[in-house]
């Protein structure tokens, strides 16, 4: 039995490697996606355009504006002439935020009274607008403290000190690249398995396999193992790129990462073989993988946090293997995640793998007999 499975494995790997097109599909798109996604798919807020309407003639407002101009986040500052310019500036997306300083600003400040400041933000982009607002509030708070200090006014007695663990400067690609390790490995793994049987069916070589002395279970094994090997290689390439090219800190255990990667890949291979057994043509297999992949990625916590979803959808999402692996891969890269937490996220994937692989096996037998 072993020699027969071995022969199928060799045949599978050669079939994928010899075909120029499928070889290219395995190597080039994932690498391009890794590099483009890592830098482009960012919720970072940088190079923000803001506009300032300053109706105050005093020194204080001038100093505040200088601080905004000096802040690295805001690199385009426009000056408005009147209140009637605010609406068009926001409407036409020329600025995300307009700072409106009124006539009394400096006078109130020097008198030790409260001065008001209006921030108008573009709600069309509520996420970046809120982050821009956060930057502005911190800057204004600092200004207000320094001003009070200079003028000898009593200083506010409390202060917030913000720290970010695991990623002190909140670099978005530190989050992105480990996540992509999961997403892209899944993509490759799914395409390899989903297309492998569909292609044989289309070419008619599947019937040849059936008349050979191999058992259905051996065919399944022969399809599973190459997919696991190829996906592990793909994952390794991305991990190496993450550590050496992107210089993402790797704080955890490599062994634990590979263990969970293996379980994760098994669960995806099961899904791929399932699709494979259902689809008659390659086109159906492509569409099928797309239909599985879109929700799996969108609901994995990669695009947006899982806790933002409605509770019932979070329950449905428990069957999504990618969500568990993303917790592990980020944890091992950035947080030095201890073994018990890794296992807490690995066993659900093992359960999913057991389910999808037996399911695929059952489907296969039914199709064959």
């Amino acid at each position: 039995m072993f020699s027969r499975v071995y022969a199928i494995i060799i045949k599978e790997i050669l079939a994928i490697w010899r075909d120029k097109k499928s070889r290219a599909v395995l190597i080039i798109p994932p690498l391009i996606q890794l590099f483009v996604f890592a830098f482009a798919a960012t919720l970072d807020v940088k190079n923000v355009s803001i506009a300032i309407l300053n109706r105050d003639m005093g020194k204080a407002s001038f100093e505040l504006i200088q601080r905004f101009k000096g802040a690295p986040t805001f690199n385009h500052v426009r000056y408005l002439e009147g209140v009637n310019e605010i609406a068009p500036t926001i409407d036409q997306q020329q600025a995300v935020m307009v700072i409106h300083i009124d006539e009394q600003f400096s006078r109130n400040l020097y008198a030790g009274k409260e001065a008001t400041l209006q921030l108008i933000l573009d709600g069309r982009k509520s996420n970046s607008a809120q982050i821009v607002q956060g930057y502005a509030l911190t800057l204004i708070d600092q200004f207000s403290r320094d001003f009070a200090h200079e003028q000898g006014f009593p200083v506010q007695p409390t202060m917030l000190i913000g720290r970010n663990w695991y990623n002190p400067n909140l670099l978005y690609y530190w989050f992105n690249v480990p996540n992509l390790c999961g997403v892209l490995t899944m993509l490759v793994c799914l395409i390899v398995t989903a297309l492998s049987v569909a292609r044989e069916r289309e070419l008619g070589t599947f019937d040849q396999l059936l008349v050979s002395p191999v058992q259905p279970f051996e065919i399944l094994l022969g399809k599973t193992i190459p997919a696991i090997i190829i996906s592990l290689i793909e994952g390794t390439i991305i991990i190496v790129a993450a550590i050496f090219f992107f210089q993402i800190p790797f704080t955890g255990s490599l062994l634990l990462l590979y263990l969970s990667l293996f379980v994760f890949i098994c669960s995806i291979v099961g899904v791929g073989l399932f699709l494979s057994a259902l689809c008659k043509t390659q086109q159906q297999a492509i569409l099928g993988s797309f239909v599985f992949m879109s929700p799996a990625i969108l609901l994995s916590g990669y695009a947006t946090p899982i806790e933002n979803m409605p509770p019932w959808l979070q329950t449905v999402d428990l069957i999504n293997p990618l969500r568990y692996f993303l917790v592990i891969v980020k944890g091992i890269f950035l947080k030095d995640m201890p073994a018990h937490l890794v296992f807490a996220n690995t066993w659900p994937m093992a359960l999913i793998a057991a389910f999808t692989l037996t399911g695929a096996n059952w489907f296969f037998r039914r199709k064959l007999e």
């Binding site: 921030l119 933000l121 709600g123 509520s126 207000s144 006014f153 917030l160």
Partner: protein
Amino acid sequence: MTDKGGLRRVKALIIKEFFQIIRDPSSILISILLPLVLLFLYGFGVSLDLNHLRLGLVLEENTVDAVSFAESLSNSPFFEVRRGSDRRELEDLILAGKIRGIVVVPSYFSAFKKRQDNIAPIQVIADGSEPNTAAFVQNYVLGAWGKWLLQEKINQNLRGLPLVSVQPRFWYNEELVSRNFLVPGSLAIIMTLIGTLLTALVVAREWERGTMEALMATPVRIYELLIGKLIPYFLLGMFSMTMCVMVAVFIYSVPLRGSFWLLGLVSSAFLFTATLLGLLISTLSRNQFVAAQASIVTGFLPAFILSGFIFEISSMPLPIQFVTYVIPARYFVSCLQTLFLVGNVWPLVLSNTMYILTFGLILLVITAYNTVKRLD
């Protein structure tokens, strides 16, 4: 041949194409089921609204000040606060991703607060492995702290108040619901899928099967053939678009503040471009597998990542920012978000529509040129 003959031929082609669409389950799947599934995912699954930010809270002292601050955090609707007796106890939770941050009020908080020469610190630790959530943890705690200060000011005439009071206003999306801009933006992705992927797959199949060459042997002219392919998929796309707008407005209650007809106009410009991209891909590849890959790489992925729909274009590296200028979806997303949330901002909508149409015309010329060559 008269114009009348041309019209008749185009009509015949359109009817043929319509039958093909109706009879093929995969085109129904892509044009009706897939948009609904995607709209569902973008409406419910993808959300940037952190309504229940899970926070850990450590009070190292039990003074009046510390307790009143803790209460203002716990009472805030934005947080789900979990108390811990010391930082180490909560560390496991932050490691597991069960909480997104820890707020620590140190043991010397009230002592420092009473003294003139020291500032009493409150530490906010956020889980940086999720940078966007971490920024929100910091912002929301800052907001809650500001409210607490104001409360303190009313309760006891506190020394040294914040001198500048800031009044933020979020225009067009006052409640800050991310669905309000994600759902309109996702329409651009769905339109790209229908216009580009569906057209590319179907026409590539025609090349694969050789029926395209059969068509070319008939007296049909090249531009008639193009029109005959464009119109049915264009209409199918507009049908999908109308369906999606209905779902967005009536089910997701996204406001539609601009004109419905202007939205229709902009969408037809975009769909025209997307369909032409699909035609061009299929003409060049003539193979379903390559056509599917190419339309995902040139249509779907750029519409998703480089259009500014979720990810801010200004935060991308400069070379990638330049690339976004040639992505029609970028202009469409900006129009969609504006028409839904702001209203008819004519200068923005018109200039963006001009860009989209320009791409469409360029694609039209390239497609026509390539199809003519194949006839030789």
